[in-house]
């Protein structure tokens, strides 16, 4: 079981309030991702749940039990740190065994659990090595192994993939997702990478300056961002937020059009512009179009066959039923 409830939880460091009172419920077995730009308080929120920071106000409940003042070890949560935080002087085996040793679990059971975790994480051949002799991905797996053997109520991940190279990150992303499917344990995952958030989460919590901007499934956030911040944050490349688009505005202060919901043509279209940079990915090409009179740059996704170079004139046409409209305060107009 791993249902975590935050009730008006707030956190201040001295005079500075980093997290104003905040409510959030995380259901058992859910994969929740906290996402937001640097310094938005997402790691702090995770540390509050872990018990590594004391809350300034409000209450945390884990499985309906008040956990606000419980020490970290008593909360039944396991954390994977950004730096992995492996114990450098212990072998992989001893690292994984450490939480069990602290809990006083019998040797035989320890051995069995280590063997299971090592098999699940492809670490069997490395059990006698020190962390310093492992690659980044292997260290990451040791850190996860150390978390798994505790059989926690929930796993907490603090930007676990940010120290890995791009290719490895994609692989580990899949591994963690598969692990979640297999264990069906609650996982809370902090990242600033919205691709990680979109691909892994059951539920995304978008944070800005300690305030929850929106909570929802990845596609909810993609299709119906509640405000300008979420609209700009979710989706890659970013949504084009434009003003002064004539009759498309329909009373909105700002409208948003995703690059993938905009068609480009060399001959005709609603908006005229000049291509600045075109990024060729092979399958797709992203055109950064200037001088449209709408925004400094409008990004548009076209097929890889579309031939446009710097300085070419293009015409853009948004799909009208996929336009997002926001009012003067940046909130979505239903």
């Amino acid at each position: 079981m791993g249902r975590i409830t935050l009730d008006k939880v707030s956190k201040s460091f001295g005079e500075v309030e980093v997290i104003p009172p905040l409510d959030l419920t995380i259901d058992d077995g859910e994969f929740v991702v906290f996402v937001g730009p640097s310094g938005c308080g997402k790691s702090t929120l995770l540390r509050l749940i872990a018990g590594l920071e004391d809350v300034s106000g409000g209450e945390i409940r884990i499985d309906k039990q008040p956990a606000t003042h419980l020490p970290p070890a008593k909360r039944g949560l396991a954390m994977v740190f950004q730096s992995y935080a492996l114990y450098p002087h212990m072998s992989v085996k001893k690292n994984i065994a450490f939480p069990m040793k602290m809990a006083g679990i019998p040797e035989a059971e320890q051995e069995r659990k280590i063997a299971d975790a090592a098999a699940a994480l492809n670490l069997t051949d490395y059990l006698d090595r020190r962390p310093g002799q492992l690659s980044g991905g292997q260290r990451q797996r040791v850190a996860i192994g150390r978390a798994i053997v505790r059989e926690p109520a929930a796993f907490l991940f603090d930007e676990p993939l940010s120290n890995l190279d791009a290719a490895l990150r994609v692989g580990m992303r899949m591994e963690i997702s598969e692990l979640h499917k297999k264990l069906a344990t609650t996982m809370i995952y902090v990242t600033h990478d919205q691709v990680e958030a979109m691909t892994m989460a059951d539920k995304i919590v978008v944070l800005r300056a300690g305030v929850i901007e929106q909570v929802g499934s990845p596609l909810e956030l993609y299709r119906e961002p509640r405000n300008l911040f979420v609209a700009g944050f979710i989706g890659s490349p970013k949504m084009n937020l434009v003003t002064g688009a004539g009759d498309l505005m329909q009373g909105a202060a700002t409208i948003g059009v995703r690059p993938e919901h905009t068609a480009a043509s060399k001959t005709e279209g609603r908006w005229k512009g000049v291509v600045g940079v075109s990024e060729h990915l092979g399958s797709d090409t992203f055109l950064h179009v200037h001088e449209t009179g709408l925004a400094e740059t409008v990004t548009v996704r076209v097929g890889g066959e579309f031939d446009a170079n710097h300085g070419d004139t293009v015409y853009l046409t948004p799909e009208e039923d996929k336009i997002h409209r926001f009012d003067g305060e940046g909130l979505r107009i239903a």
Binding site: A50, G51, L52, P71, P72, A73, L77, A78, M79, F81, Q82, S83, A85, L86, Y87, P88, H89, M90, F98, P99, M102, A103, R146, R150
Partner: protein, 288 residues
């Protein structure tokens, strides 16, 4: 990327310093070796010629030799234990955020800047004096008979004085080591259910192993040759005669340069044995 030319230029430019240092070491060493094979009594006839290994045999067979070796090792060992144990504790204390941290750290380090002679005199006259010393007053305050530190507890006194001098060094090295400990490791251990004592034993202490090794090695080298602290307090009496002090007595009090030099050669050998021994025991911590 040094070229052949710049490398030889560097060698030439470093040569004066290297030659000076080499001479500084080699000349006294050679002279000690030469004197140790001679009967040389400055006030009683001077250089009386070669005597082979006679000085060496006399020095070891003297009844003062083995007690002196023992005393040296007890002082070195005692000071090492005290400075490492208290050094670790102090370093952890100083690592805590607190008001006036900079000044407190400076004060803790201060004893290291006091000359050994001066600190020994301060301890002897201001703390350990059985009539006017601070400790004597403290004892009297509680109605106890003041301890005659330097005669009744001579070894304890010397170990205390020397530890007081070397504690700042150990603290300083260990403090920098503690500061380099990744706080996420401690947090991970905390989440793994490690109690404060386990966190100390499993995380902090292994992290400090290398720094402790360095403290032990450096201090041993310096502690084997302590002299001023003994000279100004007990003058080698009450069982505080170390090997260094014995050599001093042979050369200056007995005016027997040859015998003292032979003792010096023994001291070099002893220091090397201890160093090799320590390297063997603790050296493996250095390559982890």
């Amino acid at each position: 990327m040094a070229t052949q030319h710049s490398r030889s230029a560097a060698r030439i430019m470093m040569a004066p310093a290297v030659i000076l240092l080499l001479g500084w070491m080699l000349i006294p060493l050679t002279m000690t070796l030469v004197f140790s094979f001679k009967k040389y009594l400055p006030m009683r006839g001077g250089d009386l010629g070669w005597v082979g290994f006679e000085n060496y045999v006399r020095f070891v067979t003297s009844s003062a030799f083995w007690p002196a070796v023992g005393t040296t090792l007890v002082i070195v060992g005692g000071v090492l234990v005290i400075t490492v144990v208290f050094g670790v504790l102090l370093a952890m204390l100083l690592d805590q955020p607190m008001w006036g941290q900079g000044i407190v750290r400076l004060l803790v380090i201060a004893p290291f800047f006091v000359m050994p002679t001066v600190s020994a005199l301060v301890w002897k006259n201001m703390f350990m004096d059985p009539v006017n010393g601070l400790l004597a007053h403290l004892w009297k305050f509680f109605g106890a008979q003041p301890v005659e530190w330097l005669s009744d507890a001579s070894m304890t006194s010397i170990i205390m004085i020397v530890s007081w001098q070397w504690l700042p060094f150990a603290t300083l090295i260990l403090l920098t080591a503690i500061q380099s400990l990744d706080s996420e490791q401690l947090e991970a251990a905390e989440m793994d259910g490690a109690k404060p004592l386990s966190r100390f034993g499993y995380i902090i202490l292994p992290h400090l192993a290398r720094a402790i090794t360095i403290v032990v090695l450096i201090q041993t080298i310096f502690l084997l040759s302590i002299f001023a602290e003994i000279f100004v307090t007990t003058q080698g009496s009450f069982g505080t005669r170390t090997l260094t002090y014995l050599i001093f007595q042979r050369v200056l009090e007995s005016q027997n340069v040859g015998l003292g030099s032979a003792g010096g050669v023994y001291a070099i050998i002893l220091a090397n044995i201890v160093a090799i021994f320590l390297m063997r025991i603790v050296g493996k911590n250095l390559d982890a």
